[in-house]
Amino acid sequence: MVGRGTWSMRIFQIMNYSFLTLLAIVCVLPLIHLFAISLSSNSAATAGEVFLWPVDFTTKSYEFVLSESAFMKAMGVTLLRVLLGVSLNMALTILVAYPLSKDASALTGRTVYVWIFVFTMLFSGGIIPMYMTMRLLGLLDTVWVLVLHAAVPVFNVVILLNFFRNLPKELEEAALIDGAGHWRIMWSIFVPLSAASIATVTLFAIVMHWNSWFDGILFMNSPDNYPLQSYLYTVVVGMQAIISSSTDLELLEMVSDRTAKAAQLFVGALPVLIVYPFLQRHFTKGIVLGSVKE
């Protein structure tokens, strides 16, 4: 085989393996560290004794998180949002991607349609006009504002439509001759054949809804309606913003409960950590075929 033989090559291989392993560790180590802190006693965490393994193991911080009603309420808002948002996103992604995957000869005005959608990726009114529109529609402080403002994920549409375009034309032609209509072709042929790509964009939609925090802060006047990530922003990160000098900041770090923060962050990251391994093996295939064309 290739690459065997010379000493320099062998040394390169050893160093390459070590370097990439180190790099992969650097990517997950902070999460493991966070998890270890969340399971340690607060005194051990504050003293900086925790590295990758919990010191004075305790589940106290998780009990605190689960008993914190604001946290659970925010979790409820997020779950509802993910459920509604992902369903809507996926329905609209497929419904938009299918027609746009046709050639201009099969869909009159295709180019115009495409540009109407793509333009929204390039230009937006900005946060203030967006806020005013939502107020005008009476959607502020409801879960619908979070679901609707990103109802059509155009980036996902582009991935899926490129995937659809790569499916053999003959399939569609044969189905048309057999008397199937477009609804039938979309649902019974295109969708099942695009499982990898659909899994990918579903993962993106789930992660997008789960991770969004700024729209919560922008559109919710009452913190009671915050989704989980917005809530986490205010309790874990945002406190920095009200501090005006570096000594205050250090003081804040000292008094705040490090283990409770860690537990809240870990719970906030957990669903993505769970969903990700199941869907990630699809997405290399899904994205690459969808976005990079020859």
Partner: protein, 298 residues
Amino acid sequence: MLTKWRLEMPLHLMLIPGLVAILIFSYIPMVGVVIAFQKFMPVKGLFGSEWIGLDNFRYMTELPGFYRIVWNTIFIATMKIVSGLVVPVTIAILLNEIRKEFYKRSIQTLIYLPYFLSWVILSGILIDILSPSKGIVNLFIQWLGFESQFFLGDNKWFPYTLVISNEWKEFGFSTIVYLAAIAGINPSLYEAAIVDGANRWKQIWHITLPGMTPIIVLMATLSIGSILNAGFEQVFNLYSPVVYESGDIIDTFVYRIGLVEAQYGLATAVGLLKSVVSLILISVSYFLAYRFANYRIF
């Protein structure tokens, strides 16, 4: 004619829900940018407010620190663009040299992971591990015999902390694109090179890298459009008034003057200028990509 229409009609029908949604939630807000030209009063509304032409734009350029903010934005964005090209290309080449399939896939899975966590979660982690008094990074630095550094509270370090932590989140995901490009290289080129006696170094240099050039050029070209996007979500989560001097970017500035100080017209003017410049840059880069790399998004 009629049959063609009958066949096509379902396609148009399918597009209606999506069109209605973006009309309401993307195009109507675009109309709202007119407040950039108004002395906007929420009580008077969009149609009752006084028109003041370009006054908001003029006022914007006279703000103290405006050019500082533009500079911060471009400086941070440029560093992110450059590192966002160099790091994933390098990692993709190194990963490609890994022969054990299982090992390669495990590494890939781990390096994509931070990409899928929100900036809230990652910032929570960063604030903790970078803490000057008890964060592991500084404990390590102290252990090495150096003085601990306040990476998030020191104007000297803050922009670099942003760039490095952004790269930590993003590089794994960007690597996918380059790995795909490498996978597309014709294997017979390598076979021929081996017959000619080329070692792995020479193969990387003369086959892998040139094989990736088109996609590297494409990504570099397309990145021109994001020169004014230094990353709102990240900066907003990591900064504090202590580091406004080095870390305040256009988007965070718009948020503060608009929603915190309620200067709606001014904030919209700043945001509009940024959007228009970005739109022009994106169009130019897309045109260049189309022209020279024959790239199309759809």
